[in-house]
Structures are given as C-alpha cells and as structure tokens.
Symmetry: C2
Subunit: 206 residues, 2 copies
C-alpha cells in the first residue's frame, strides 16, 4: 500500500503491530479517528501511555493492579489459604464473575510454551512455590486452559509442590452447560463420564 | 466487566470506542501491550497524536496529505481535466493500485446518508461544482460504491453539473473478474448484459 501521507502511514504501521489488526483494519480505524473530534484520539493516546507506564502488578498474586497489593489480596474476608492458579487477568475476571470462588488468585502471566519461547522462568511460578513452602497454603486449584501448554504448566508446578502436603485440584472438564451431547468431542465426553458427580450434588451452586 | 485497575479500565474504554473493537478485544490488545516493551506503546500513542493533529487535507482534492497540495494534484504529468470522484482515501489508493487512471481525484469524504446524519453540506461537493463552473473540467468519473447512498450522491452531484457541457460517467458495474456466473445477483448480471462490451475491446487494459 502506498500512502499519500507519512503521518498516516506511520500511524497505520504502529497500529497494525497489534495482534489481529492488519493494515486495512488499521487504516479504517485511522480514517474513523480523523472524522472524530481531536480530543478522542488524545484521550486514547494518553490512556495508552498512562496505562503502560503507571500500571503495577500486585506483589502477592501478580495480577494487574493500581496498588502494591491488589484489592483481592488485600480483602481480609477472602480465604487466603486457597489459591487459584490462572494464566492472566482475563481468567481472574471470568472466575470473579461466577461469584463462586472466595479464595485468592495467583496469576502466572502465561503458560509454558516452548514454541512461543516461553519457559518456566518467564512465568511467576517460583513465588507460588515459595508460598507453598512457607506453609501458607491449604489448597491449590489449577484453572489453566485445557490445552497441551496448560497441562504442561499444571504438571510442572504440581511436581514442585506435591510433597508439601497440600490439596491440589484442577477445575472439572466436562460438557458445557447448555451443550448438545452429540457435538461434544470424545475426550471431553469421556472425562465427563469418568468424573461423574452424584446426582444430588450436580445442581448445587456451592 | 469489573477491572482490577482503573488505568486498564480507562484504556480499554477508550480503545473500545473505535469501530469493530469491543471491550474483550480491547482488553486483549492492552494485555498484549503490557507484555511488549514500553516503547512500542509510546510509539503508537505518539503516532496517533501526531497523525490527528498534524495531518493536512489537500486544498484541491481534499485527500489526506502532508502538504497543502498533494502529490497527485501537484503532478504536472497527470490529466487535470479528468476528475475521478471518490468517497475517501482508501478508494484513491485502490484506484492508484490499478495504474490505469491518469487523471486527478476529488475526495468527497463520505456519501450522502440521512440515516447516519450525513447531508450534502458535510461533503466536499461545492468545491467540485466550482471546479466544473470554472470550466477546468472535461470529464467527471463517478467512482462511488454501488449502494443506495452512493447512487444518491452521484445523482445529487450530477444534477448540479449536467448543464455545464462536460462528460460524466460512472465506473462499469458487472461481474467481477474471476467470479462464477451462477453466484452473481440478478441486478449485477442484468447490468452486465445491458452494458456489454465489444469482444475485441474486452481484454484491453487501457
């Protein structure tokens, strides 16, 4: 694409560095911005800069936060001995939405994935193991994606904490609520049979 | 969605103002930025601000430009008596890519669309009519989208310039090159029959 303006070209180029945004989409976004009031672009640019420079990660759970210790970790009403291990902030938000988890989180910041160049040392695994070693933890719940990378990460952490006499669990794999059985893949269906639940417990929320 | 950080929330909110970007996509983009080096976000924010504040529209054709008169309008080798009327810069870039048009452009900046609150006065129609009145134009080629709004805009302009003894034309509507006939809609197919082309001309590029 040949742009009639270097300024536009530069903006499109920077924007199309973001995942899922190609040059055409970026150009469409720029043309939209040019039609909107100037403040809107200024607000966006300032919000991006502020977020990138000022955001803090919680000292304890490594979640994104505005403070040294995030609201979840600072809440005395939560069960600080039950830790849910998740990949990133989106999973924290998703689990919080269920309103069924009252423990605290530990955000790894990714999954072990050699293909993407992510090894255990780039993730916040060590601090989780430390917490376990210090005897502060009663239960660890693994809530990573059910993929090769997720399972690898689960197993890597499990190996390091299994001797410390704590409960470890993973979230249940099975048929999604509302799903048709005939479209379920056999692995999921198989697991849902093996880990069947007593009928009188099945509809309990907590 | 409840965000654990106001900074993140603000950035997601501003980003999701853009068309086609919802809150989930915006959050995904922000998490990507947080994993990338700080400079990348700074470069993006600066490019956006610079583009929005410093970009100029060409005095003559109203296309986006870095100068008062854009490179296309300033080029003495182009035919300044043949004007191609287009909606926005993307159309200019698309037509320039064909390398088959040697005239200049006139960028309206949109189409007449009462539903979206866009009337003729918001578009650069008057300056086009002025050019015609001044006798500088031999041919006007309408190259707007083949939609209700495009046709309305074409017709609105046509009415104002038809008495000035210039050639007016629209780009041909027909079956796209490479398309299967059976999937073409009947209006397009009908038009392509009515406006059939002598066979010996059909494969000429110019």
């Amino acid at each position: 694409m040949e742009f009639p303006s270097k300024l536009l070209e530069k903006a499109v180029e920077e924007m199309s560095q973001l995942p899922g945004i190609g040059k055409r989409t970026a150009l469409r976004l720029m043309l939209h911005m040019l039609k909107q009031p100037e403040e809107q672009t200024m607000h966006l640019a300032n919000a991006l800069m502020k977020m990138r420079t000022e955001i803090i990660f919680c000292n304890s759970c490594h979640n994104i936060s505005d403070k040294e210790v995030c609201d979840l970790c600072a809440n005395p009403l939560r069960d600080h001995q039950t830790i849910c291990v998740v990949e990133d902030i989106r999973d924290v938000m998703a689990i919080e939405n269920t309103q069924l988890f009252k423990g605290i989180y530990h955000v790894l910041g990714g999954k072990i994935s050699p293909i993407d160049g992510v090894g255990p040392s780039q993730l916040k695994i060590q601090s989780l193991v430390e917490k376990v070693k210090e005897g502060k933890v009663k239960e660890i719940i693994f809530a990573l994606s059910s993929t090769m990378e997720g399972d690898t990460t689960n197993f890597y952490i499990y190996k390091q904490i299994k001797d410390y006499n704590i409960i470890t669990s993973t979230i249940a794999r099975g048929i999604s609520v509302g799903d048709e059985l005939e479209y379920a893949d056999e692995v999921t269906l198989g697991r849902s049979l093996v880990h069947r639940v007593p009928f009188e417990n099945a509809f309990k929320a907590v």
